[in-house]
Amino acid sequence: MKISLRANVKRGSLAGVASVGAAALLLTGCGPAPQAGSPSATASDYTGCIVSDSGGFDDQSFNQSSYEGLKKSEKDLGIKVNQVESKTNNDFEPNLRAMVSAGCNLTITVGFLLGDATKAQAAANADKHFAIIDVGYDKPIANVKPIIYDTAQAAFMAGYLAAASTKTGTVATFGGIKLPTVTIFMDGYADGVKYYNEKKGKSVKLLGWDKAKQDGSFTDDFEKQDKGKQLTQNFLDQGADIVMPVAGPVGKGAGAALKEAKAAGKDVKLIWVDSDGFLTAPDYKDIMLSSVMKQMGSAVETVVKEDKDGKFTSEPYVGTLANDGVQLAPFHDFDSAVPADVKSELDQIKKDIVDGKLKVESAASPKA
């Protein structure tokens, strides 16, 4: 009895699911059939391809920005696009081989971990072009264009801005994993704070990074937001009121901790990295002082366009303040809160860095 009852219930629920599904199909399925026609043809035979590292194309960081840059080229330049995500480091070489055999004219690889694999495939396929994000080779390879960023320049401005804006005299930063592409932000930030102290005779303290020792606070991955939250909480307890997380999505953990502090009546601010956080992380708009931006999408677009027009070179693309490859984002809602003289000092710093009067150096700076 029991069993048959159960069977009935099962059948009943199955029938229920089926009828709901059918109803859904009926509801959505009553549009008219389209007339036969040719789909929009791709204008160009040029194929641009991209291989991610294990972060995937939805990492809200360099994979995503590079991918979006390529997608934009697809629309603007009418090229064909192939993309393949790497789930682990093991996927790099098979993915690259597959891209070569898929007939890609230019293959963009993202991240230093792909450095060896890209080098090997470039050597084996001299007629194919490659571009690699965040990797500079000691000896240039004829068919590989490195796309690198002197992020410390923009981070320097962020450090100065933070030091000029802090109310408590303490600012903080932390990283995801101790990689050069992460520590370069922290180096620039530290130097910016130091520069402010020297100029103004103040002693704003920086938590989370010691440039001389090249050591500081890290969450040890780019995933666990609660660790970012915990670190930020610690910084707040030590008196910091402005935090710059250099940890991709983990930055949201910092945002959450700061929002809580703000709700508790503290005057705290967040500095985002990679993209303009006011636009890409709108949850934290009300605490977003500014962002240190790496314009990867536009760099990818430029490289694709150059290659399509037959102007490929192995000369590295170095994103700097001078070519707007790195930037300090607009202040948005905080525009009125930043004093005019700080703004003009930041403009002056930018000018000095561009002119070479002010040197921002980091152990992780691209060797150009």
Binding site: M1, K2, I3, L25, L26, T28, G29, C30, G31, P32, A33, P34, S54, N82, Q83, V84, E85, K87, T88, N89, N90, D91, E93, P94, N95, A98, M99, A102, F112, L113, G115, D116, D138, I177, K178, L179, P180, D220, A363, A364
Partner: protein, 496 residues
């Protein structure tokens, strides 16, 4: 732990060389028999730890633990032979075995494994169709022209799977025979670390241990093997041999340590192995930030490239990645098969896995078995670490183990913890991974679909009644009681 059994066995070792030889002889003459039958027929002077009911699949519920103990004790002093009870032949509940669910998962029949793969592929196909743009477009005018919708669904799924096949086995558009079979070579390459790590997990399963630690074992092996490979500069042959030995020792040490802690302190191996995975990973990250493991003049956490003398030679030349490690994996599979089914040590492992208490009562040194099986499991996983650093990657990064340590668990499950089953499952997963690249490029199907299919396979293997129900294989018209869940488990055991 084993003290109480000592009085029954003054020599402390029930499996002397004579017994070994004797048993080996029997097996030689009786190759087509399963262990169980062979053991039942030939009593080789070892205590009988097994009870008749375990041999029959529809036997009444096993007697309670007390009876088991009495039976073991009764026979312990006598001249009765052992009954090797392969974990795969266990049916239903084991007296005194706390992990009956675990065992049921590992002992599903071969049919269920195949059906689970099939079902996962069908569901994967539906998911592909569901996310396909063309399917979405045609669904909006489903009623006006339903054939469009159905053909779109069919196309989406088949296109993806054809690409999967072309990327993993045979690509008709490849250049020449070499190009056409290149995908197969890739499959074998990716399968290599899966097979060896899978064997490590499977071996521990058979001894009743849930080895989640293959990941950490691969990492430790990778560290030692990579360091030997790039820091030492030795002649060809000797260098690779040393890399291999370093990897095996590293894995065996990391696995054996877990076995030791479990045997000495009773700490649970699942907790231990998970924690050891973290320790290994953070140790690796730390080391990669030290000058000894970094490339001179660079600050990225990536090791120097291994010397050419330290890497596996490629079997079919440089256009394929397939390396000597694959042949080694075949040899290792044979070895594990021999170890489990033909050696005394393997017999003890299985006896401990079937019922540790009975094994202990029968005079098997459970502590020693636990340490040994974990060390061997670690050594097997260590071979995967070597395959990574000396076979495909040729450098050490913090992603050296990729997800092989965890995939290995799935592989062992799908292979039902038998050596050749694990080998086949490793090949299948290698094919999935290799084919996913082509699937992504040709059809834009995200690689995650392959991960979903892998996960679905595990899900279905863990729930054999579900799979049988879907394919209408559940015995019908049985009495209500026999249709219950516990009894269906009993019918799964027979295929081993």
């Amino acid at each position: 732990m084993t003290d109480q059994t000592q009085p029954h066995h003054p020599d402390g070792n029930p499996s002397g060389p004579d017994a070994d030889k004797h048993e080996a002889d029997k097996h030689d003459t009786d190759k087509h028999h399963t262990d169980k039958h062979a053991a039942d027929k030939h009593d080789a002077g070892r205590p009988h730890t097994d009870k008749p009911h375990a041999d029959r699949h529809h036997a009444p519920k096993p007697a309670d633990e007390e009876t088991a103990a009495v039976v073991s004790l009764d026979t312990a002093g006598g001249a009765m032979g052992p009954s090797a009870v392969p974990a795969t032949a266990q049916s239903g509940k084991i007296p005194g075995g706390p992990e009956t669910l675990v065992r049921r998962i590992f002992t599903g029949s071969g049919t269920v494994s195949v059906l689970a793969v099939l079902l996962a592929l069908i569901l994967g196909g539906l998911l592909i169709a569901l996310t396909d743009k063309q399917v979405g477009a045609t669904a909006s005018y489903l009623l006006a022209r339903p054939t469009d919708f159905l053909s779109a669904v069919w196309n989406a799924a088949t296109r993806s799977y054809v690409a999967l096949f072309q990327g993993s086995v045979f690509n008709p558009r490849g250049g020449g025979i070499g190009g056409q079979f290149a995908p197969l070579m890739e499959t074998l390459t990716i399968a290599t670390p899966l097979i060896t790590a899978g064997l490590g997990v499977a071996l521990a399963f058979r001894a009743g241990l849930f080895n989640i630690g293959a990941q950490g074992q691969i990492i430790i092996a990778g560290i030692l093997a990579a360091w030997t490979g790039f820091a030492l500069h030795l002649p060809v042959g000797l260098h690779l041999l040393l890399v291999l030995v370093a990897g095996i020792i590293g894995g065996a040490f990391w696995g054996g340590l877990v076995g030791y802690l479990k045997a000495r302190t009773g700490a649970h191996e699942v907790i231990l192995t998970i924690m050891f995975n973290y320790i290994a990973l953070y140790l690796l990250r730390y080391l990669l930030n030290t000058p000894a493991f970094r490339r001179p003049g660079e600050s990225n956490p990536i090791s120097p490239i291994l010397d050419p003398s330290a890497v596996y030679p490629q079997i079919f030349g440089s256009q394929y990645r397939l390396h000597l490690g694959f042949l080694l994996a075949i040899a290792i599979t044979v070895f594990v098969w021999w170890l489990l089914n033909r050696s005394t040590v393997g017999f003890e492992f299985r006896a401990v896995g079937a019922n540790p208490k009975a094994a202990q009562t029968a005079g098997i040194n459970v502590s020693r078995s636990t340490i040994l099986v974990m060390a061997i499991a670690g050594a097997l996983a260590g071979l995967s670490g070597v395959a990574q650093v000396a076979g495909t990657e040729k450098v050490l990064t913090d992603g050296v183990a990729a997800t092989y340590g965890f995939d290995a668990i799935t592989v062992a499950l799908l292979g039902r913890s038998t050596p050749w089953g694990t080998f086949a499952a490793g090949l299948l997963f290698g094919a999935f991974r290799a084919g996913a690249v082509q699937m992504q490029i040709q059809t834009g199907t995200p690689i995650d679909i392959v991960l979903v299919v892998q996960s679905l396979i595990v899900l279905f293997i863990a729930a054999p009644p579900l799979v049988r129900a879907v394919f209408g294989l559940n015995p019908r018209r049985k009495k209500p009681v026999t249709a219950g869940k516990s009894k269906t488990a009993a019918t799964t055991g027979g295929a081993a």
